[in-house]
């Protein structure tokens, strides 16, 4: 009888080791929809050729902070491709879904492409906006998302802050006053970058949109170059959107190998080309040179140099009771 039971168990577990359909969930930030739609198609083809397996990659997009919170709350992301390292740090620290040293796993601090913040203005630039000083002038209406929920908004805030520091001899009080003036010009705060693009481009609100560089180019493509102009300020910030495998989720899903390959492939020539074509600045120098015409020259400061890293910047500026909470007054 015991032999029979053993046979039953062996048969049961033999049946349990069947192959599973490969599904991946990429939880990303707001403006990467087009990038990953194109990239997923390329990776699916690559993976099929390499392994013979079909992989179906699903995308989830929203404000980077909100997306990170969703993963912390249980959204089963296999990989996260968010706007800034702090949001992935939050997943590592609060939900323990990946190790704290996740950023060392891939080249360039796990950021396969970079970007920056530029201005999108209405055609002909009727308000004459050339640099950050113009953005804080009275009567200029500025559209930018909420830095509490949007990674792009945090980059924009820090770009403006860095400019104000440099202009005022690193006088922090002057920089705060500059930021206060800027947000006084903001009539509505969206939760994510794509929402702000809708506010500015489709709803016709504001004189200038503080936008991801790729999002600004996308707006030109989507809504017409006869409607908007891109203005590159004299100084902006080096935005490094990182990527990471969510260890515990891929272990549970059995997708560790394909998830790692998915992120590795972002560094391949094809992955870098797709990033550049979607107006993300590629890390690969050869491909960056090939697409140099897509990107205006601008002085870029890094968050590490100017703000002491994301943890410090988050605590100082965006945590509850931080600088943003102190200077921002809703207009209504």
């Amino acid at each position: 009888m015991k032999t029979l039971l053993k046979i039953l168990l062996v048969l049961a577990f033999a049946g349990a080791s069947h192959a599973k359909e490969i599904k991946l969930l990429n939880v990303s930030y707001d403006p990467t929809r087009e990038l990953y739609t194109e990239y997923n198609a390329a990776f699916t083809k690559y993976w099929k050729g390499k392994t013979g397996d079909d992989v179906n990659v699903s995308q989830s997009h929203g404000g980077s902070g909100k997306q990170a919170q969703s993963v912390i709350n249980g959204l089963e992301a296999d990989v996260v491709t968010l706007a800034l390292a702090y949001d992935i740090d939050a997943i590592a620290q609060q939900a323990k879904l990946l190790s704290a040293d996740w950023q060392k796993r891939l080249p360039n601090n796990s950021t396969p492409y970079t970007s920056t913040i530029v201005f999108l203005v209405r055609k002909g630039n009727p308000k004459g906006i050339k640099d950050w000083d113009d953005v804080v002038k009275k009567g200029v209406s500025v559209v930018v998302p909420n830095p509490k929920t949007s990674g792009g908004a945090r980059w924009a805030y820090l770009a403006a802050y860095a400019y104000a520091l440099e202009k005022n001899g690193h006088n922090d009080a002057a920089a705060r006053d500059f930021i206060r003036k800027l947000y006084k010009n903001v009539p509505v705060l969206d939760s994510g970058a794509r929402g702000s693009t809708v506010t500015f481009a489709q709803r016709g609100i504001g004189d200038v949109l503080l936008a991801w560089e790729n999002e600004a180019h996308l707006a030109l493509q989507e809504f017409g170059a006869d409607k908007f102009d891109i203005v590159t300020p004299s100084l902006s910030i080096l935005a490094e959107p990182p990527v990471a495998v969510v260890d515990k989720n891929v272990k549970r899903h059995g997708t560790k190998e394909v998830a790692k390959a998915y992120l590795d492939y972002l560094y391949s020539d094809e992955g870098q080309e797709i990033a550049a074509k979607n107006f993300y600045r590629p890390r690969n120098e050869t491909i960056a040179a090939k697409y140099a015409a897509n990107f205006n020259q601008v002085k870029l400061v890094s968050i590490d140099q100017e703000f002491g890293g994301w943890a410090k910047a988050q605590q100082t500026h965006f945590a509850d009771g931080g600088v943003f909470d102190q200077i921002f007054q809703p207009q209504n």
Binding site: M1, A12, S191, I205
Partner: protein, 501 residues
């Protein structure tokens, strides 16, 4: 503007008329007068032009101011509209994040927005009647009864942890815990359950109480365990194409429902494999085919707790469809050593047709505590049951859902199903060598049943059935079961009203 020009023309005309009347003035005087008039006219023209320019400028200023205000108002309106849009989006997002509560045919369900936490309240009430015919030897066995009264609490915690708690208030002995277990669901194909639940053995026994075809399960179920306390690894592979279960339990006698604690040195091992090989195929005629085998094994059985239940009598034994005991071990008989069971089983569902069958073997070591005699009994049983839904619904192991729920105002009557069953149970003849009384207990029973099930809707069912059981052996002198039961065939008419939600 026009008024100014008219005024100038009038003035000029009057001056000319005056000149013609004063024709006798000198030429010099006339010339100087004309020059003076010209200067006056020029001055007046300049004034008129200045007035016109001023008026145009004023109008432009008014236009510019209005334009700015309109643009400002336009932006304010757009901002308000966008804020309203964002508020609506936020409201939708908040609604998605809010807990969900639903009340319907599936019971009361409260769930967190992400469904990681679910609480569900179901219930089962069965009101039966049993009417026996031609049972002159037996008195006072007809009547109504509450067969099952069970609130069912179940749910999920932290997405992967399930629980179920089912007390039953029907037993006359007082409330009894039937199911009380926790289940960790790593994946559907790999789950771990611990607590009190059904031992993975008999097919008919594993079918939910709300879905069995007749009021009572068949003779084959007499030889399988009911619920037991233990630990089970189990899962459904490929959506149930293959299901497995392997567990360690305290071990119980046939058809026994375990107490909540049982301390002994030996445990019972149980395992089951069940395949529905065509479940996911395109061959619709075979999608409802399932076959499997299950077994249990325990080496150290002892006492009466490892013998069958005492249902329908005072000693451990086996019961008829009418829940009357037709076989009983002697009071001096106890379980002794090895007890194993094996049950090949299967079903087939296709459209309104259903067929279910199983074979059960229960080999039990016994000992006479008076004589010290021992025996190893080989008891067997089998059953086959079938059904046909007259109103065209699909039959399934998980019940019937009427296409047209009962609503006489609109000419809808629910679903009707006819069912039939045949079952046998055979006791090892060695049982009558000092372990049971052949004069009073039957050595075999054969039962056929037929019935009509009326599914008013998904939650309410009414059924009626007739069961006829004959016995081999027994029927001797005695005033209690099993003698009075085996003295004549059992003929019993069942009815049931069932509310399940």
């Amino acid at each position: 503007m026009k008024k100014n020009k008219l005024w100038l023309a009038t003035l000029l005309g009057a001056q000319l008329a005056f000149n013609s009347l004063a024709a006798d003035n000198t030429d010099t005087n006339r010339d100087s007068d004309i020059e003076a008039l010209k200067q006056q006219i020029n001055a007046l023209s300049q004034k008129v032009e200045a007035l016109e320019n001023q008026q145009t400028a004023n109008q432009q200023a008014v236009t510019n101011a209005a334009g700015g205000q309109i643009q400002e108002l336009d932006q304010k309106v757009r901002v308000l509209a966008r804020e309203r849009e964002l508020d609506q989006e936020a409201a939708v997002a908040a609604a998605k994040a809010a807990p969900k509560l639903s009340v319907g045919s599936s019971g009361f369900i409260a769930s967190s927005a992400d469904s990681n936490f679910v609480f569900r309240l179901d219930g089962l009430i069965q009101v039966d009647s049993r009417t026996f015919f031609n049972d002159t030897a037996i008195k006072s066995n007809d009547g109504f009864l509450l067969r099952r009264v069970r609130p069912i609490f179940q749910g999920t915690l932290y997405r992967d942890f399930d629980f179920k708690f089912t007390p039953d208030f029907a037993p006359s002995s007082g409330p009894t815990v039937f199911d009380a277990y926790g289940n960790y669901r790593y994946e559907p194909w790999l789950q771990l359950r611990t607590g009190k639940f059904k031992t993975p053995e008999g097919l008919e026994q594993l079918q939910e109480d709300v879905n069995i075809s007749f009021n009572e399960r068949s003779l084959a179920t007499d030889l399988v365990p009911n619920r037991d306390v233990g630990l089970q690894l189990w899962g459904d592979i490929n959506g149930g194409v293959l299901s497995y279960a392997a567990g360690i339990f305290n071990g119980v006698g046939d058809e026994q429902n375990s107490s909540n604690a049982a301390f002994e040195n030996e445990v019972e091992l149980a395992g089951r494999l069940f395949a529905q090989p065509f479940k996911s195929s395109d061959i619709t005629a075979l999608q409802g085919l399932g076959v499997g085998v299950a077994g249990t094994s325990e080496n150290g059985t002892s006492g009466t707790k490892d013998l069958p239940n005492t249902t329908g009598g005072t000693l451990p034994g086996y019961t008829t469809d009418g829940q009357q005991q037709f076989f009983a071990y002697n009071a001096t008989t106890v379980a002794n050593g090895e007890h194993w069971r094996l049950s090949p089983q299967g079903y087939y569902y296709y459209g309104p047709f259903s067929l279910l069958g199983e074979y059960a073997i229960s080999d039990q070591g016994v000992r006479n505590t008076t004589t010290g005699a021992e025996a190893y009994l080989h008891n067997t049983a089998w059953e086959v049951s079938g059904g046909w839904i007259l109103t065209g619904e699909n039959a399934s192991f998980n019940g019937v859902t009427p296409l047209h729920p009962f609503d006489p105002h609109n000419g809808q009557w629910g679903a009707f199903q006819v069912v039939a069953r045949y079952a046998e149970l055979d006791i090892d003849n060695a049982a009558f060598n000092g372990f049971a009384n052949s004069a009073t207990s039957a050595s075999a029973a054969q039962a056929w049943s037929a019935g009509l099930n009326w599914y008013l809707n998904k939650n309410i069912r009414a059924n009626a059935s007739f069961s006829h059981t004959t016995f081999t052996g027994g029927g001797g002198a005695g005033t209690v079961s099993p003698a009075i039961v085996t003295r004549q065939p059992e003929n019993v008419f069942f009815t049931r009203i069932q509310l399940a939600f």
